[in-house]
Amino acid sequence: MKISTHEKKMLCEKYFDMVYRLCLMRVKDVHICEDITQDVFLKFLKTDREFESEEHIKAWLIKVAVNASKSFFTSSWFKKSEPLREDIVFTSYESQDLYSKVKLLSKKHRTVIHLFYYEDMSIKDIALVLKRKESTVKSDLFRARKELKKLLGGKENYEF
């Protein structure tokens, strides 16, 4: 389906949070996250490709967000500079604690955890979007949970 500029803007509104949060979980820095998010939506506005469905658009946006943050890590700018850290202020201590623990996971694990628990994506969908094998995603998720349990200090109040 061909999307008009107006429709694109509507979709930007709709998926902004999704892309922003995903980028934030990957880069762990608000300012960089904003830059990458802007880049992702610029790409979306620019693209002439035809999408099959809205699900396709969503998957495309996730993929572009993942790639954009990946290329940020490999950019010479990132290698040469030390980003300003601005921690997010949370309303509850639990959220603050959880965020600080999730941040300690590897980028790969953070992405999988986020897509699985926040975007409610199935392992199959995650594998499709990230272009990985289902078994790889499954083992990543398993390891991420295991690591999180360890980081959360064996708190029994979280059921995974």
């Binding site: 930007c12 902004f16 949070d17 934030l24 620019k46 309303t91 639990e94 999730v102 926040y118 999180l148």
Partner: protein, 210 residues
Amino acid sequence: MNFKDAYKNMQNDIEPKREILNNLSYEEDKKTTSFKTNRFRHSFALMLIMVIAFSFVYFSNTQNQIDTKTPKTNSDNKTDICDITTQISPINKSRSIDNDSLNPSTNTITYDNYASYLGFDILSRMVIPNDLVKNETKLNYALENSDDRGFFNFANHDGTRYINIITTKLDVYNENYADYNLYKKDDLNIFVFFEGFTKEEINSFENSIK
């Protein structure tokens, strides 16, 4: 508590800055695109210039190397062989040539003498790991691993002593060169491919020790 709920609560606590989205407009996008395109063009032009410069330098060097490989005249023979000897091995630099092996009365030119003259008799005192080059593949190994001039290095286990073995890359040399001489030390089971000297050079060498 369910981790999923806790994680969602945590995420909902984060307030994305939606101003970014307000700043996005198609017109702005076009500007950005054109800026990026120009930047891309500049980078591409710069890269192209670098590639051309690199190619020029590379081909000039290659040409120089080919020039140095052209057969020399008979009058240059001595110098030529000595030059090659110098290039062969750091060990050979410190060795004096065994003049006995070049005694005209007892020696005619053979590959052994040639090896001796070039310092390759030191092979008999060297231990080269057998697993470095397998018997069947050593010739290919030598050919594949030699550099453009046909030289490559073997290091001993202790890494302190080196032997340079001259190899030939068959596709580099032309018909002006003599046959490639295969030299084998049975006790070490090592093949040494001598660089193909010209027939004139070999004749001249023979004449010099007769």
